[in-house]
């Protein structure tokens, strides 16, 4: 496969987005969008296959498109194919295709379905652009497109004020991170003079090794750059403290949550760290990455314990898992983090789609307290959901188990405190997932309308994903760990394996023990403690600090503006006072009444006098002529 064809992978969905934006018929639009994504999926798989053949340190395949050339500086677009991008593209298109198909069923009753697929395709194009970009600027541009598409999709049901607010919040919070990213790009550009990741001449960003010798803001350039890029990653991947948008983003249609807020976009932040790993390594930012990830994992897991909204639990779970990926990259290297990213994409997409199926089956009910006993009416969904749950809680020999195991092993080897935090987060994961399942599946139905199973177009993707959720880890483990940069720890210490299995099983057991035999939904939930339920008051804290500060700024600027207006009015007032002074003292008194008005009156009088002779009376004219002559002569005589 030539690298030029690589460009087709993101361009096909883009084309679909462009075409579907003019379509009205939802069904046709969906078919078009799905077809486009399937083709690019096939292309991605071919590319992936090719990339699989490369060794980890092979030169990547490049395809560069000059975008701008100004003053001797070239700013290029470009695509790159190496194992990392290949695998990521394959995952995005594959999961994406399944979710597209699922959405065709999920959204079939929405009259704006065509628009939905337009946005989805736009998102896919942007995401694939992010994945394949060989230039930081293209990466960022696509990253922003992804952000817009996410915004549009979250607020897709924009008649709901919550959805609109959530979309705005997502956009703005990620934009905070993006600003860091943007400054990072500017700094990279300043320091290296290029924006390409790799170039044929081997002077791309990731191929320069003297970044540490450069200084910026008093630190080494690599440190500052990687920190700024990490800010972008934190925003996009919902790491603390910028995670607040992700749970709210669940206001969007469920396929959106699955595609964007579980499998792909939120992983883009992790992917960014993975792509620019050499910078992080050079800048010594990996411990920070690991710690941020670990804290995120723990805090989000705690919050997930206290939630009742089916999708919100999954959302916090996603935040938590993203934190674990960061731990993986920060503590154990790219391969480990990416491995978890890939497996997580499958099982979290599965969970979300399952949740979507449940929500649809329960007539748009999202509160787990009003569910229950769904195992019987929705068998396929239940099976798929349980598969996803097992993978998420890292039940031994599911895909989640393998990837999480690697993370824990890496953390154990490099950063033991992080290891214990991550382990605790894993335990909590098992607990909240068990809690959720206990609420949803056994027992009796607590809702009003009888639940029903979803149509095949939705369940088939679920089952396909289930297979991957269970099996992918075992299948891909060896090759992924080998191909991606960064060597995992082998063999795993016994402690790690023991802890890993213990937290998974122990968590499940704990959850089972707590919730078994309880009148679920009627009595208070023992784990939904106030801080968890209220999400550790993050939103409130932001409102009280950043929000206040922001309002303060606006008020200050408004007041300053008012002050300026006041100064202007004052100046005008003073000027007019001075003017009035002059007008009264000088103008009216001196000039008007004495000179101007007086003169005018006199002139008018004289005019009247003078016009009196102009009466058509000819002798009068003659007399005046004579008078004039007399005066002239008198003048002449006098002058002599």
């Amino acid at each position: 496969m030539t690298t030029e064809k690589l460009a087709l992978i993101p361009l096909l969905p883009l084309l679909a987005a462009a075409v579907t934006s003019f379509m009205r018929d939802g069904k046709r639009a969906s078919i078009f969008a799905i077809a486009a994504l399937l083709v690019s999926c096939v292309l991605s798989l071919i590319a992936f296959n090719e990339a699989w053949g490369m060794a980890a340190d092979d030169k990547p395949k490049l395809f560069t498109i000059p975008w701008l050339a100004i003053g001797g500086t070239a700013i290029n677009f470009g695509f790159v194919l190496n194992p990392l991008t290949g695998a990521m593209a394959a995952m995005v298109t594959f999961v994406g295709s399944l979710i597209f198909i699922y959405s065709a069923g999920y959204m079939s009753h929405d009259k704006r379905m065509a628009r939905f697929f337009c946005y989805l395709s736009l998102f896919a194009a942007g995401m694939l652009g992010v994945v394949l970009a060989n230039s930081l600027i293209l990466f960022f541009m696509c990253w922003e497109v992804v952000g817009v598409a996410s915004y549009l999709l979250i607020s897709f049901w924009n008649h709901k004020p919550e959805a609109a607010a959530a979309g705005k919040k997502a956009f703005i919070v990620t934009r905070v991170g993006d600003m860091g990213f943007f400054i990072g790009i500017l700094l990279v550009f300043k320091v290296t003079g290029t924006l390409d990741f790799y170039t044929e001449a081997e002077n791309g960003i990731l191929q320069q090794y003297d970044l540490n010798s450069q200084m910026a803001f008093g630190f080494s350039a690599a440190t500052v750059i990687s920190f700024l890029l990490f800010v972008g990653a934190v925003g996009k991947s919902g790491q603390i403290p910028l995670h607040v948008w992700l749970p709210d983003a669940m206001e969007g249609p469920t396929p959106v949550s699955a595609l964007i807020h579980a499998a792909t976009m939120v992983a883009a932040g992790v992917f960014l760290v993975a792509r620019t790993f050499p910078l992080f390594e050079a800048g010594g930012m990996l411990p920070l990455v690991a710690w941020v990830g670990a804290i995120t994992a723990l805090v989000a897991a705690f919050i997930a314990l206290g939630q009742y909204d089916l999708k919100r639990i999954l959302a916090y779970s996603t935040v938590s898992q993203l934190g674990l990926m960061m731990v993986g990259i920060g503590a154990a290297g790219v391969s480990v983090g990416m491995f978890h990213l890939l497996t997580h994409a499958f099982f979290k997409a599965l969970l979300f789609l399952g949740a979507g199926s449940i929500i649809l089956g329960c007539h748009d009910e999202q509160d787990i307290r009003k569910m229950g006993g769904l195992a019987k009416p929705m068998p396929l969904t239940t099976i798929a959901y349980l598969c996803g749950t097992l993978a998420l809680v890292a039940f031994p020999f599911t895909s989640g188990f393998f990837s999480k195991d690697e993370i824990l092993a890496g953390a154990w080897a490099n950063n033991q405190p992080v290891f214990w935090v991550a382990a605790l987060a894993s335990l909590l994961t098992a607990v909240y997932m068990t809690r959720q399942c206990m609420y949803v599946f056994p027992g009796t139905y607590r809702g009003e309308h009888a639940p029903h199973e979803s149509p095949k177009i939705m369940t088939v993707p679920l089952l396909i994903l289930s297979v991957f959720a269970l099996g992918l880890g075992a299948l891909a483990r060896g090759s992924i760990l080998e191909l991606f940069p960064g060597k995992p720890v082998t063999p795993h210490p016994g402690t790690v394996v023991a802890v890993s299995i213990a937290v998974a099983l122990g968590g499940i057991a704990l959850g089972f023990l707590i919730y078994r035999g309880r009148a679920i939904g009627q009595t208070a939930d023992p784990l939904a403690l106030k801080p968890f339920e209220r999400k550790f008051w993050f939103d409130e804290i932001y409102e009280a600090t950043v929000g206040r500060l922001w309002t303060l700024f606006t008020i200050i600027s408004e007041q300053l503006n008012a002050l300026l207006l006041f100064i202007r009015d004052l100046a005008v007032e003073v000027a007019s006072r001075i003017g009035t002074g002059f007008a009264i003292g000088g103008d009216r008194k001196l000039i008007d009444s004495l000179a101007f008005d007086g003169m005018c009156a006199r002139l008018r009088f004289a005019g009247r006098t003078v016009t009196r002779p102009q009466n058509g009376f000819l002798p009068g004219y003659l007399r005046l002529i004579a008078l004039g002559a007399v005066l002239l002569t008198a003048l002449v005589l006098w002058a002599k």
Partner: protein, 480 residues
């Protein structure tokens, strides 16, 4: 050719006064189209070199009639020539004193074209003021709101005060150099080793400062934008606010390089102040036109940021030609902002026309009532907040990359402006287009075919300049 395109609207204005009333708009349109066609023709042949026409005029004073087209003005001229017919088109149904209206509009086109093409201060200044006078009358006579008189007076007072300062500055400069020629002045100053006083620089800067406008002389802007009729706002924000930036590029940068580098910090500081101030002002503003006016303030200030960066030395940088990046970014930003702001003001004008008000919080849910309108509005808003693949991003990226290379701290703080822009524009979208549908506007009509046609060229250019800005940057390159 350049003269013809400048004077075509003037001829149209005279013809309008001579012809029957019902022909007025057609004549105005013809004038604008002729200018546009000539501009397009000129630009097609444009090769980056200075194309000039120079005729001796008042020889004793060294004043020539000197017009020209080069990398600095090609794109703004195109912008003006593009928005002129659009402005006429938008006012096609104008029925209040059409003769006066269209004549003034045409007169203003001449002022704008003249300002962008003149290369001799003498007649440049005439055009500069000519652009102002019709705007004043258009606002005063045809504005909608109550405070249009006050706004118009404010507008004129501020800009005239600035112009007077600039005029004085140029007269002093002339005394030192005996030249009014923009192209030759830098050479003359160097050759004669003229000690240009900072006062001259500040005086000329002041005139441009008001026009841009930069804080704290921006207070005339929002009331004027709010009061002026839509086509006039489009010209004001699309083209007239670019006159100041263009002036900076044409006068300050080449003629006063030393002073610029001396005062670059000051300029950067004020640009930053304006960016943040404008953004934060827009946050609490509920009058949509004023909101967009503050957003304009913020966007045009990015241009000034880039210009300030031109004053900082670039020694020892890895980016080759950081100045060039900033300079071309500034020009592209003028183009991009001209397009997006014109489009947005047009849409807000339509909204006001349909709803009878323009209070941000008085709408809601328009997405489902008027989907096409919403789509257009969203795209232009996205362009305005600098989303990639739309014109705004390409320009802002160039400016930021150029200015970050030389002034990283200020630029980094300026990105806060980008963030604030996102916040207020998103809030605007949220309040106007999403949420439950406001009962009053349940049956608001969507865009008509004609309105879509007006917006189409703007949208195409917004995308074109965002995806493939090379085409447009070719016009802003300077060849020796």
């Amino acid at each position: 050719m350049i003269t013809a395109l400048t004077l075509a609207p003037l001829v149209a204005a005279i013809l309008i006064l001579a012809m029957p009333t019902q022909r007025a708009r057609a004549v105005a349109m013809a004038g604008a189209l002729v200018s546009f066609a000539l501009t397009a023709w000129l630009l097609l042949q444009f090769d980056g070199k200075l194309t000039e026409v120079k005729v001796s005029w008042i020889e004793d004073l060294g004043i020539d009639y000197h017009v020209g087209l080069d990398g600095t003005n090609a794109l703004v001229l195109l912008l003006a020539a593009l928005l002129a017919p659009i402005a006429v088109w938008i006012s096609w149904g104008h029925s209040d004193r059409p003769k006066t209206y269209f004549a003034l509009l045409s007169l203003q086109f001449t002022g704008l074209f003249g300002t962008f093409t003149a290369l001799n201060f003498f007649h440049w200044f005439i055009y500069w003021e000519l652009a102002l006078v019709p705007a004043f009358f258009l606002i005063k006579l045809f504005g909608k709101s109550e405070d249009r008189h006050k706004a118009a007076i404010n507008f004129v007072l501020f800009t005239v005060l600035g112009s007077v300062a600039m005029l004085l500055g140029f007269i002093f400069l002339y005394q030192a150099t005996d030249s009014f020629n923009f192209i030759k002045l830098p050479g003359v100053i160097e050759e004669k080793n003229v000690e240009v006083s900072s006062l001259i620089f500040v005086a000329i800067l002041a005139g441009l400062w008001v026009k841009v406008p930069l804080a704290p002389l921006h207070i005339w802007q929002a009331p004027v934008y709010a009061a002026a009729p839509t086509p006039v706002v489009i010209l004001l924000t699309g083209v007239m606010s670019k006159m100041g930036v263009y002036g900076l590029l044409r006068l300050i940068v080449p003629i006063f390089p030393d002073q610029l580098s001396q005062h670059a910090d000051m300029l950067l500081g004020f640009a930053l102040l304006t960016i943040l101030w404008g953004a934060f002002l827009a946050l609490r503003q509920t009058d949509l036109k004023k909101l967009l006016a503050f957003s304009s303030l913020n966007h045009v200030a990015y241009c000034v940021l880039g210009i300030g960066a031109l004053g900082v030395a670039t020694t020892g940088l890895k980016i080759e030609g950081a100045h060039e990046l900033a300079r071309q970014g500034v020009i592209l930003q003028m183009f991009a902002h001209g397009l997006s702001a014109a489009g947005l003001f047009y849409l807000v004008g339509l909204l006001e026309q349909r709803a009878g008000h323009r209070n941000r919080d008085g709408f809601g849910g328009l997405c489902s009532v008027t989907p096409r309108f919403a789509a257009m509005f969203y795209i232009l808003t996205f362009c305005s907040l600098g989303l990639p693949f739309l014109a705004g991003f390409a320009a802002e990226f160039l400016i930021f990359s150029g200015s970050f290379a030389v002034a990283p701290k200020v630029t980094a703080m300026a990105t806060l402006g980008l963030l604030a822009t996102a916040v207020f524009l998103m809030t605007m979208l949220q309040r106007v287009f999403t949420g439950p549908v406001n009962e009053q506007h349940q049956s608001m009509p969507d865009l008509t075919r004609n309105e879509i046609l007006i917006l189409t060229p703007i949208l195409i250019l917004v995308f074109w300049a965002g995806i493939y800005p090379k085409t447009w940057l070719a016009f802003s390159q300077t060849m020796p």
